[in-house]
Symmetry: C2
Subunit: 362 residues, 2 copies
């Protein structure tokens, strides 16, 4: 009935806080002379993507063709799929349809991946992925030139190089990962230049490393000269923040824009049991995390155990919140949290926004 | 186009294997004289729920009112919400509507939770939850009688007691957790009997402990006498199996019925990178797990790292699968995996089944 509280758990979005984060990162990128291409996998919301573009982003980053389709439908006309796609005939058709609506680039890290696209008659712009220390996908930086030459000979426009400095997700490595990132992109760009291939874009950036993003390396690089550090940032999580970012020192607990509203259902064992578990929060827990999530209004509280529909909270200081009361949980990793829900409930009571790209993994 | 492979990642369901698991657990329960009430949170599928009922289950277990609504819609008329619900006016109305369609019981572990239901005029049957060693929700076993008496005085029909022996999820504790479970249920039932309250149901059971479920304790208990071990089993995961169950010794890798089909997208660093990450597999990783998931056709392979759209696999023995080839990933914890997808793709090519209760957390 009207006026009744929504059933928990649900996503609560404070648009004022998200807007401040969007403006803050845009200002940071401008101050460094960096293009900003936020990773939209975090929010999966066409509306939030438009807010990022209106704040000055040059386009959006996505992880899958399915996400790209959603954001193209939502009005974004410049999309980078930062992933070494394996393209079969069906995916080639989908990419071709996307190219009718938007400027599209994709990541590459193998000759076979490039050859598969060419074999199916699709040639989006490409950026060569390099490994800057996260050791996931990407070629060694010095090998970027050879792969770029392969792509160019196969008829692809090579836009540049990119990396994800995922090893910035540690309490001691935010700055050093940013250094690794800039150095890797510089080496990669030089390896393209050595083969006569222009490197227009040197794209990097995660939320933890963004503050340290280097536009030059050892004084020799400079934006636009093709051999320096970054020209573009691709952070994602910053739009909301989460417990990981709080514990990495990137943002304050009270500034986190996206929380999960949960109800206290039990005081068993003198602890607080909430009705938001791994099916609402996600189960990510980095080795350095202090728990499975935080409570926004109780900085001392820690989620010490998580099952599918239970968060077990050691409350720390102060009296336990009453049975039936509601608390705001700050999830560890907000990207996986958002993907579990169908909609955002706006904190100001004005309605809901859909999680447009929920589940678009393919 | 017809005949083209589906885009990955997606859920692949081998109905033959699931049927064998459903029949196997039903036979096990029958052989022990136990009622079987499978936990449907694992599959969230009305169709699979009906298969369990047709195999002899007395009803289904669910975790939320939202799941109960889906399974009532799907034709199940006997539902146990094994959770200490906090009932507000909206949830009371939903429970009342459910009771028009099905026999409904809910878990209780506090006087406040019982009082909230009574205050809103809803009195489903209740089972008192007891803590048998998992230390999540539930009262101490000896305290069950007092809570049952409170419920009875408030006008509720007390059906019995239940527990979840979640500490069975460890390589060394499957049998001892089952012993704890039976002992806790016996103590709880005795505490009801001491107050003159019949204890018709003593419900327990997880997939790892089910093989050890005890129907008597120390020789004094026996099914139906009100003071023994279990009368009812509530396993969930057994319907599919998963990597956790394989590594706990509950099932064989080749018998797992639910896999995630993933494509090899990169060989960076000499490892296999798959396009199924935490947004397709879930991020659960128990301390004793050997990785973030397994590969069904490659027993030596281990997922050593997981991001949202990447699984990093150390392949172990044999040549790496080619770029673009597909592999079947056995997720660590299948309940969270299924909740990430909208549908099951049947392995025999005959179509898809919906994940009816996906996201029904409330």
């Amino acid at each position: 009935m009207p006026g009744e509280p929504r059933p928990t758990p649900y996503l609560r979005l404070d648009v004022t806080k998200a807007s401040a984060a969007i403006e803050g990162m845009a200002a940071h990128a401008r101050s460094r002379g960096l293009a900003l291409r936020p990773h939209a996998k975090t929010h999966k919301s066409a509306r939030l993507g438009r807010m990022q573009l209106e704040a000055g982003a040059v386009g959006l980053t996505v992880a899958t063709v399915g996400e790209a389709e959603v954001f193209a439908d939502g009005g974004c006309d410049d999309l980078f799929i930062a992933y070494p796609l394996w393209v079969d005939p069906a995916k080639a058709r989908r990419l071709a349809a996307l190219q009718d609506r938007a400027r599209v680039a994709v990541g590459v890290d193998s000759t076979a991946g490039i050859a598969a696209m060419a074999a199916h008659g699709i040639r989006p712009d490409v950026l060569v992925e390099v490994d800057s220390g996260h050791h996931r996908t990407g070629v060694p930086p010095a090998a970027a030139g050879a792969l770029a030459r392969y792509a160019a000979k196969a008829g692809f426009a090579v836009r540049g190089v990119f990396t994800f400095p995922g090893h910035s997700y540690s309490t001691q490595t935010r700055a050093s990962a940013a250094d690794d990132e800039a150095a890797a992109l510089a080496v990669a760009a030089q390896s393209l230049a050595a083969l006569g291939i222009p490197c227009q874009v040197r794209s990097g950036g995660s939320t933890p490393s963004a503050a340290f993003a280097a536009v030059s390396v050892g004084g020799v690089g400079r934006v636009g000269d093709g051999i320096g550090g970054l020209t573009e940032l691709r952070p994602g999580v910053y739009v909301f923040g989460d417990a990981q970012q709080v514990e990495l020192g990137v943002c304050a607990l009270e500034d986190v824009a996206l929380t999960v509203v949960a109800t206290v259902v039990s005081h068993a064992g003198g602890r607080v049991i909430l009705d938001a578990g791994s099916k609402a929060l996600g189960a990510d827990r980095a080795p350095w995390a202090t728990g499975f999530g935080r409570v926004q209004e109780a900085p001392d509280a820690r989620i010490v155990a998580l099952s599918e529909h239970h968060a077990t909270v050691e409350w720390g200081s102060g009296p336990l919140p009453a049975l039936g009361s509601r608390v705001l949980v700050v999830p560890n990793h907000v990207c996986t949290t958002v993907n579990l829900a169908d909609e955002y409930v706006l904190a100001d009571g004005t309605g809901t926004w859909p999680v447009d790209a929920r589940g678009r993994n393919w």
